[in-house]
C-alpha cells in the first residue's frame, strides 16, 4: 500500500468534513475517489498532502507515519498533487513554472542558475509529453485554461512523485482534452506511478480507474471496481439522497 489513512478526522466549526476515514490506496493502480459535493474529498487531499492538519488519525506513506509533516517534506517523500481550480504561477514563464519543484534541498543545487542544470532537460521532456513544449517562454497566465491544466500536471511530475493526487482533472476542460488527460494518466500509470483521482465526470472515472472509493459524509462507504461501485445501492443512496 502506498498510502493508507487510519481514523482520519477533520472538523471545521462543528462540521465533520472528514470523519474517521480509513482509506487504503492500491499501489500501481489508478484509484478513483468519488462522492457527492461536500463529502470531504478535497479536505481528504488537503489532509494527506499536509496542507491542513488532522484533528485525529494518521496518514501512512509506504508504512511511514507522515501525519503532521510539512507539505514540502511530504512532496519530497514522493507525493504530488494538482488542485481543483488549476493553480500555476501566473506571472512566471512556463519553463520557470516547471523549475519551481524541488526534489531535495541541497545548497549547491539551489544556488545553481535555473538554466544551467539538467532539470531544464527534464522540464522540456515533461512539457513535450503534455504537448505544450512550444509554449516554454510564454508567461503562464497567457495560456488557455486547458494549457494551464496541462502545465500544472507537467510541473507535478518535476518532483518525480510515485503517488499523484489529481483533484478534478476534467473540471472546466473540453471533451477532447479530457480524453487526452485520461490517456496520459493511463500511460503514466503503466510506467509505475500510482494515481488517486477525484472526479465528477463519471465517464472519465469509469474509463480511467481500476479501483474506485466512494466518499459520503467524510468517510468511505463503498469501494471496488467501477462496475461494482456503480451497482452498489449505498452509492446510489448517497448520490440521490433516497
Amino acid at each position: 500500500m502506498t498510502l493508507t489513512t487510519e481514523g482520519l478526522t477533520k472538523t471545521f466549526g462543528g462540521v465533520r468534513a472528514v470523519s474517521g476515514a480509513n482509506v487504503a490506496i492500491k499501489e500501481g493502480r489508478v484509484n478513483g475517489l468519488i462522492g457527492p459535493n461536500g463529502s470531504g474529498k478535497t479536505t481528504f487531499f488537503n489532509l494527506v498532502t499536509g496542507l491542513i492538519r488532522p484533528d485525529s488519525g494518521r496518514v501512512l506513506h509506504q508504512g511511514r507515519d507522515i501525519t503532521g509533516w510539512s507539505p514540502h517534506r511530504i512532496a519530497h517523500a514522493g507525493l504530488g498533487r494538482t488542485f481543483q481550480l488549476c493553480r500555476i504561477f501566473p506571472r512566471m514563464s512556463v519553463l520557470d513554472n516547471m523549475l519551481v519543484a524541488v526534489r531535495r534541498t541541497r545548497l549547491r543545487e539551489l544556488l545553481a542558475g535555473t538554466r544551467a542544470t539538467a532539470e531544464v532537460e527534464r522540464a522540456r521532456h515533461w512539457l513535450h509529453r503534455m504537448g505544450i513544449d512550444h509554449l516554454e517562454t510564454a508567461e503562464a497566465r497567457h495560456l488557455s485554461y486547458g494549457q494551464q491544466k496541462l502545465l500544472e500536471l507537467a510541473a507535478v511530475f518535476m518532483g518525480d512523485p510515485g503517488l499523484v493526487l489529481l483533484d478534478e482533472p476534467a473540471g472546466g476542460v473540453n471533451p477532447a482534452l479530457i480524453d487526452r488527460i485520461s490517456a496520459l494518466v493511463r500511460d503514466l500509470n503503466a510506467e509505475g506511478r500510482t494515481f488517486l483521482v477525484v472526479e465528477h465526470n463519471m465517464d472519465m472515472v469509469m474509463n480511467m480507474c481500476d479501483h474506485v472509493i466512494v466518499f459520503d459524509r467524510g468517510a468511505p462507504i463503498s469501494e471496488g471496481t467501477p462496475q461494482a461501485v456503480q451497482a452498489d445501492p449505498r452509492v446510489l443512496e448517497a448520490y440521490l439522497g433516497v
Binding site: P90, V100, H134, S144
Partner: protein, 321 residues
C-alpha cells in the same frame, strides 16, 4: 550599463561643490537600502515597512562599538552586520509566518519596538539624545570624507545588486518568485517555503544593516527617532515600487528619483513635514496606478503577439485532441 557605472564613478569629481557630493552619498545610501529591501520584497512580495529597524540597529551597533568599546569602525561594522543579520533570521522565523497585511503590521511592530527599546535604554544608547561618533578619518576634511563614503556606499550598492542578480538567476530565486505567486502551491511542489523566506529576510536585512553601520560613521550623529522611523522603511518600499520591484535596477532607479527629490523639497520647503506628506501621497499613487513601477513601462516586450498565435494553434490542437 558601462556608461552608468562610469557616470557613478566620476560623479564626485564632476559636481561643483561638496554639498552635491553629500547628496550623492545620500542617494547611493538610499539605493543600497532599497535594493536590499527588494531581496525580500521584490522576489517574495512580502512588503516590510520595518526594514529601518535593521538600518537603525546597524547604525547603533556600529556607533556604540566604536564609542563605548573603542573598536576600529570597520570591525564594529562587520560585527554589527553579522549579529543583526543573525537576529533578523531569528525574528524572520516568526515574522514570515504571517502573510499579506498581517506581515506589514508585524514589520511595523518590529521597528516600533526597536524605537522604544533604544530610546528607553538610556544608559547604553543615550536615549533620545542619541550617540555622537568620532570622525572616521580625522586627517580628512568633511568634504573629502563625503568623497570616501560615496565610494564606500557605491561598493556596497554593487554588492547588493550582485546578490540580487545572483539570487534572481538561481533556483532559489525562482522558488522565491513562486512564493510571491502562490505560496501553498510552491510548498506543495517541494519548496521549503519557510526556510526560503527566512533566508531572503536575513539577506535583505544584511545590506540594510551595513548601510546603517556606514551611516553611523559617515553622519556621526545618531538620532533614534529618524533611524527607527517608519518613514525610512516607507522610503525603501516607495523607491522599489516606483522603479519596479521585479527588476534588478528598479530600486536604484527609484532612489535616483526619490532621494534627490526629497533633498530638493527639504531645501525648498524648509524643515517642515510637507515632504513626508508628499512621500505618503506618492506611495499611494504608485501603488494605485503603477504597481509594476517605471521599468516595465520603459521595456515593453514584443512577446504579446507571438503568444496569442501559439495559443490559437494550441487551441486547434486541443479541439483535434
Amino acid at each position: 550599463m558601462a556608461a552608468g557605472v562610469a557616470a557613478a564613478l566620476a560623479y564626485p569629481w564632476l559636481v561643483p561643490n561638496y554639498y552635491l557630493v553629500y547628496a550623492g552619498v545620500l542617494t547611493v545610501m538610499y539605493a543600497v537600502t532599497a535594493t536590499s529591501w527588494n531581496i525580500l520584497g521584490g522576489f517574495t512580495g512580502y512588503v516590510s515597512l520595518g526594514h529601518s529597524a535593521f538600518f537603525g540597529l546597524g547604525a547603533y551597533g556600529t556607533g556604540l562599538l566604536v564609542t563605548r568599546a573603542g573598536w576600529p569602525w570597520p570591525l564594529a561594522l562587520a560585527v554589527s552586520a553579522v549579529l543583526v543579520t543573525l537576529g533578523a533570521a531569528i525574528v524572520g522565523v516568526a515574522a514570515v509566518r504571517v502573510r499579506g497585511a498581517s506581515f506589514v503590521i508585524v514589520s511595523i511592530a518590529l521597528v516600533s519596538v526597536m524605537n522604544l527599546l533604544v530610546q528607553g535604554w538610556r544608559s547604553l544608547t543615550g536615549g533620545s539624545s542619541g550617540v555622537q561618533v568620532p570622525a572616521p578619518f580625522p586627517e580628512l576634511s568633511r568634504g573629502q570624507t563625503h568623497m570616501v563614503f560615496f565610494y564606500l556606499y557605491l561598493a556596497l550598492l554593487a554588492l547588493a545588486l550582485l546578490t540580487w542578480w545572483f539570487i534572481g538567476r538561481s533556483r532559489f530565486g525562482n522558488g522565491l518568485r513562486a512564493i510571491r505567486e502562490d505560496e501553498d502551491k510552491a510548498e506543495m511542489l517541494g519548496v521549503p517555503t519557510a526556510a526560503y523566506k527566512v533566508a531572503a529576510f536575513a539577506l535583505s536585512a544584511l545590506f540594510v544593516t551595513l548601510a546603517g553601520g556606514l551611516y553611523a560613521v559617515w553622519f556621526r550623529s545618531l538620532d533614534p527617532i529618524f533611524l527607527f522611523s517608519i518613514v525610512l522603511g516607507a522610503y525603501m518600499v516607495l523607491m522599489s515600487l516606483l522603479g519596479g520591484g521585479r527588476h534588478l535596477l528598479g530600486p536604484l532607479l527609484g532612489a535616483l528619483i526619490i532621494a534627490p527629490a526629497g533633498e530638493y523639497f527639504l531645501i525648498a520647503l524648509g524643515e517642515s513635514q510637507i515632504h513626508l506628506t508628499a512621500t505618503g501621497v506618492l506611495l499611494v499613487l504608485v501603488v494605485l496606478f503603477m504597481p509594476e513601477g517605471i521599468i516595465p513601462k520603459l521595456v515593453r516586450r514584443p512577446a504579446g503577439a507571438s503568444i496569442r498565435e501559439e495559443t490559437a494553434e494550441q487551441r486547434l490542437l486541443e479541439v483535434r485532441g
